[in-house]
Structures are given as structure tokens and as C-alpha cells.
Symmetry: none
Subunit: 206 residues, 4 copies
DNA sequence: CTTTAAGCGAGACGGTACGTCCGGTCTTATT
DNA sequence: AATAAGACCGGACGTACCGTCTCGCTTAAAG
């Protein structure tokens, strides 16, 4: 959900791998370059040449280790998934969902963020699509606790399908901002959260 | 919502415009070629060269009239919007939503359809993104009647925000199939429709 | 025989073809660049990139029209064959052969000339080898008159195998300078001519 | 003259040097690989990578010991010169020359032999060119006896320039097959031998 | 009907990026 | 401490598209 996490994940992973050794350093610099280029120029600006130049590394090195842009994205996404993000805990289901949606909203609202670029990339590279899927599955798994807490509090009937509930809450935000590309509406995250919470209370996901 | 409509829209429009003149014929053949190529090779296979060759037209002709691939997509999408599609009318809100979702589901489930290709294209070309947005807005506007009928039947409290309701119903299908890329689940359209209908009955969109 | 002729042939042809039109100009500049690079850097310096840069033309243009280095050489050689060279006429067979050999000697003695480079190239590119073969066949054909004049003068018994005679006369010069790479000996052309003339008078080629 | 001798020389030398010691074994395997690759793929197929792989040795080992492809060729040629070849002795000058030419002819006629590859290599690597020159000088020195025998028999006037005579005899064969690349003519070796013998009898090399 | 200008066919060009191969150097890990 | 394995840099290759340009030729529509 937190789409800004990948970015920090990249830097973090990079920092951690910079343990000496040329190979590790090269990898870190290349992945940093990928993140930076995606932010600045989007997926179309993410050419192997540009990555190599920015990373201060030779083109052939990138091809040797990552094969193509898809391989770079996979490495970036897998590194990004390797963080400590946890879902918010506001004390109520609607509050948690609204906070989640707010994170998504902020990551997508500009239309030029890293997340948008990664999603665009996932439509071009099957490997990147898979890696992005893995990233999201991991996030949804971490968020299951939001639903179980709500059930424990008696807000919603147990047992509930946490994944369906979370998708119902977040999907409209992705849909409006990524696909419909309507002008960002700050009320959107809360509205989607409220509707989903209402459905959940009515037992729609149990 | 009917994502297969663009395809038929293309052929239909093409047929209608084939009124004699060379220009009209060229346009029809080019747009047909675009659709066919999108289906066969996806957005990445949609090169100006390939379109021109397939349409039996010279490259420069395509550049002259459409400028680039984005222009081709705009033309295709605008032609696709020019049809007579109307939303289903099953007698109940949940039934209507489920039928809508089913159309979306079928258009997206394969992952290789024209719709998927157009959406992928919308991440690469700003013009195509806009045209796709217009197409979807048109569809949502036509679907408003589904919500007003439900209100008239007393299924849901009036007045209801038809757009928010429709987005809530369809977004999960797009989200699962396009972004999360989970394995297609035939129960998905109905489940999303049911949850949204429940929320609507609970007044979540009023 | 005159191995310096290719060089002049190139410039000449270039000048003649520079009759307007971008294509003709491009061709002329590229062929000039090939000749210059062969002289300066030998065959190993004759890369498509270097040719393109020197000709002030884009790499892809060279690939489009000449395909590869072999194609460039073929064009150069065919252009070079398109001249008005005629064999010397000194009044005696031995004098003619010595003059021919002197031309060969001068073209090869430095070891860095255009001719040497073209021959080196012919070992790398089958097309270039063929073109060079054509060039030399043309030269031998033009030289046949040297032999027929000698027969007409009664120097040698008629009929004589002009090609075998000419090869016998010139081959030692090529052999010493190109293959054995012995230090250039100014007496070599005359010696080979004298020996061959002696054999011819003895009826060795009749 | 015997251009097939290098090949046998390689194998022979290799076998002889396989006397234990990893270094010696490595050298033998690498030189074998060079010969095999030259035969199969010509000079252009003789890459350090291919040699190393075929010899079962690491790339860096080749670079350490031979520096580059030229160094490999020098080693091969010097090993090849280290044999016991002696010129034919048929009882007549013309017979000896014809036999010599026949050996040359057979080594060159296919156009794909090891000899051709080594000659091609000599146009690319100065070191290889030198080594090949040394190889040929050694061969011509061994052949001097052919001329002295002829003089002793009174076939030709003494003293004769054996080197010039031998070059005159063999050069046409090299010239036709390597440079002119005419279709191989089985009569060529004998014809060149006969013409040279005639010239020699006429005192052209004395 | 004619004419006339917009549109098309044809082909070359400059340019960016691709992905590969190879030469040669340098670093890391091993022993 | 020496060396084998492996990664790197650098240059060239040949290809695919992109988008532009210039020339003729057709042909649809205006006079």
C-alpha cells in the first residue's frame, strides 16, 4: 500500500549491500540509478544506457547482470519488499482503511511518482509484473492484521475475507488515479474506506 | 465497462467510414491494423512500421495523419466510444453490477486482449491515456441509469452517488486482474457486485 | 597491376559522382573516408563507426547502404576498377614487364599503402576478395596487349599464354613483399621481369 | 613450401611437449586448440575466449602466457618450424620444383586450410607476420639444395641464385590461389615449375 | 469536365537504443 | 604470495524503430 516504501527500500537495501567488494557497490549504484531515473523520466526514460551512465558503470555490465530493464525492475522491487513496513493502527477499521488509502493516494496522486512508473513498467515486462505482484501480495498479507483486529473488536462479523475487504477498500483509489486518471480528490481515500467499512459491518466480507 | 466493445467499435467504425475516397479507406485500414496488432503483439508490437506494412500503406502516410502511435490510439479509442452500448438491466442492482463486472472480467481475464493492450498503452502515451479516460467516463455516464433504477425501485436510499458506487463495484475486478495479476477467479465479479450492493443498501453511497 | 590506381580511382569516381543529390554526395564522402582510413589505420582501423564519423554520416546510413565493411570495400574496388589505366609500352617485353613490376613494387613496398590494406581486407571478407579478384582480372586483361605486342615484334614465339606470363612476372614481387615480407629490394622488379622475359623467349609460355 | 607442415608440426610438437608438468600440458592444449580453431573457423574464429574454452583453460591464463592472439600464432608457427621436413628429390630440377609446387598447391587449394588461415592472420598481427616470415625463410633455406643439386648435375649454369629461382617457381601458385583466387587448376604447379626450370636453364638466375 | 492541390508512395537520412561479442584489465577468493 | 575465477571497462557490431525530409505521382474534389 505504501507506495513510497519502494523508494526508501531501494536506498536502504543499497546501503546495506554496500559492504565492500566492487560487485556489491556496482549493484547498489545501479539500483539507485534505476530508482532515480524512474522518478525523473518515468519508465520510458529507463533505458539501459541511461542507467549505466548514471550509475557510472559500463553498459555491458548492466546487460551481464540484469539482462534487461525487466531484470533491473525485478531487483529493485525485490529489494523494496525487503523492509519493515507495517499497516497503521488507528483503533478502528474505517480509520485503518482510511490511513492505508491515504498512503496509496499520496503515492499515486502526482502521477509522476516511482510507484506510477513501476506500475507502468509492469505492463511492459512480465518479470516486473510478477515482481510487483509479489510486492503487493506481501503488503496485503501484512495488512490482514487490520481486518483481524476489527473482528477481534467486534466491529465486523468473524471470520472475514481480509484480502477481499482490503482490495475493495483500496481498489477504487488505484482505479481513479491510475486508470480513470480523474483529478485527484482528497476525499477519495476516506470515502472508499467508509464505504468498505460499511459493507464489512453489514457482513459483506464474512 | 464492456471492454470488448472497443474491438467491435473499431471494425464497425471502420466499415462505416469506408465510403469510397482513398483517405477514408486508408484510415479504415490503418485503424484495423492497429487493432489487429494490439491483439497480436500488444502495445510493444504496435510500431508505426508494423501498422503501415499491415495496412498496406506507406510509413510516411501514418506519420502525416496520426503523427505517432499515441495519435493512432486516440483515433482508435474515439472510434470505439462511438457505439450504442447500454448497461444490462437485470431487475436488481446486484444483478446489474454483477453483469457489468462480468463484462469487465471477460475483457481482462486473458491478459492478452485488446483492452489490456489499450490500458498498457495508456501508461506510455499521455494522449492515449486521455482518450481512454474519455472512453471510460462515457461508459460510467451511461451506467448511471443502473443506479437510478435501483433508487427508483427503492433498493437503495436516494440520492446516491452513482459514479462512486459503480467505481466501487468494478474497481476490484480491474485491480485484481490488471495490477495484482492474480489468477482469474470466476467468482470475483459476483463477489465484488454483492459487496458493493450491500454497502449501497446500507447507504454508503447516499 | 598498378596498385596505386585504386586510390586515384576512388577520388576520381567520387569527384565524378558528386553531381548533386544527397545520396550521391553521401556515397562519395563515405568512399573517400574508407580510402583515407585504410591508408591511415589499415584494415583494422576500418570500422563502420570510424567510416561514418569521418564521412560525416550516420552509422545507420552506412549499414543501410553497404551492410558491412565488406560491402564498403566492394564499392571502393569496383569504383577503382572504373578507370582508364593502361599498361606501359616501352618497346620491349622485358621493359614492359619491368615497368609493370615497378608499379606493383611501389604500391607494396611501404607495407602501409592502400593496396596492402585492401589485400589484407580480402582475407577477411569474401565479398571484398571477390571484388579484388575482379579488379585484378581486369588489370591482367588490359595487360594482355603487352604480350601480344611482344609476339608481334617476334620477341617471343606466338601464340603465348599472356596470363601465365604476366603472373610469372609479377607474382614474385607480391610474394616477397606481401607474404615473405623481406626488406624491399629495388632490384626485385627488374630481376623478376628479366627472368620471365628469358623464359618467354625460351618458349616457356607458348 | 609444404604448407601442410605447420599443421603436422603443431600436433607433433604438442605431442612431444606433453611431458608432464601442468604448464607444458596447458601449452600443448592451448596450441592444439589454436590449430583446431584456425582450421574450423579461420582467423576470425580464433578468439582468446574460444581458445581458452576449447583448451579447458581460463581466459586469463591465455592472456598471462601469450598476451594476445598474435602471441599464440607466434608460438604455433615457431613450433611448426621445428620439424624435419626436407625438400623432394626427384632427380631433376623441374621434377623437384613441380613436387614442391604440388605441396603448396594442396595446402592452399581448398582455401580453408590451416595455411590459408595463418597467412590471413599474418595480415592482422605483426608478430605473426614475422613468425611466418621466419618459417618461410627456413623452408627456402632447406630448399636451396634443390638448386645446388641441379647445378651439380649441370642442368643449370652455376652459380645460381637459389632463392630467386625458388620464389619464381612457387610465387605463381601462391599468387593465383591466395590473391587472385582463381579456380584451382591442377596443371598450375607443373606449369610454373616448367617455366621456371626453362628460365633457369637459360641462365636467368645465374 | 477540367484543373489543382491535398494526399499518397517511395526512399534516404539522422538519431536513439537495443542486445551481443570480444579484447583486455582488475579484483576477489582460494590455497 | 601466487594464481584461478570472475567481474569489469571499453569498443564495435548489426538491428529495429523513430521521426524527418524531398521527390514524384494519383486522385478527389472545386471551379
Amino acid at each position: 500500500m505504501d507506495s513510497s516504501t519502494p523508494a526508501s527500500g531501494i536506498s536502504e537495501g543499497a546501503a546495506r549491500r554496500r559492504t565492500g567488494g566492487r560487485s556489491a557497490r556496482v549493484r547498489a549504484e545501479v539500483l539507485d540509478a534505476v530508482g532515480a531515473l524512474l522518478l525523473e523520466a518515468g519508465y520510458d526514460g529507463l533505458t539501459v544506457d541511461a542507467v549505466a551512465e548514471r550509475a557510472g558503470v559500463h553498459r555491458t555490465t548492466v546487460y551481464r547482470r540484469w539482462r534487461d530493464v525487466g531484470g533491473l525492475l525485478v531487483d529493485v522491487l525485490d529489494a523494496a519488499a525487503d523492509d519493515t513496513w507495517t499497516p497503521p493502527d488507528t483503533g478502528s477499521l474505517e480509520g485503518d482503511l482510511a490511513a492505508l488509502n491515504q498512503e496509496v493516494y499520496e503515492a499515486l496522486a502526482s502521477g509522476t511518482g516511482l510507484t506510477t512508473a513501476l506500475i507502468a513498467a509492469s505492463f511492459r515486462s512480465a518479470e516486473a509484473a510478477e515482481a510487483l505482484g509479489r510486492f503487493w501480495e506481501d503488503r496485503y498479507a501484512r495488512c490482514a492484521v487490520v481486518v483481524s483486529r476489527a473482528a477481534a473488536r467486534g466491529e465486523i462479523p468473524a471470520p472475514a475475507d481480509s484480502r477481499a475487504l482490503l482490495v475493495a477498500a483500496t481498489a477504487p483509489v488505484y482505479h481513479e488515479l491510475l486508470l480513470l486518471r480523474t483529478a485527484p480528490d482528497p476525499a477519495l481515500p476516506g470515502r472508499a474506506a467508509a464505504a468498505t467499512a460499511a459493507a464489512a459491518r453489514a457482513g459483506a466480507f464474512s
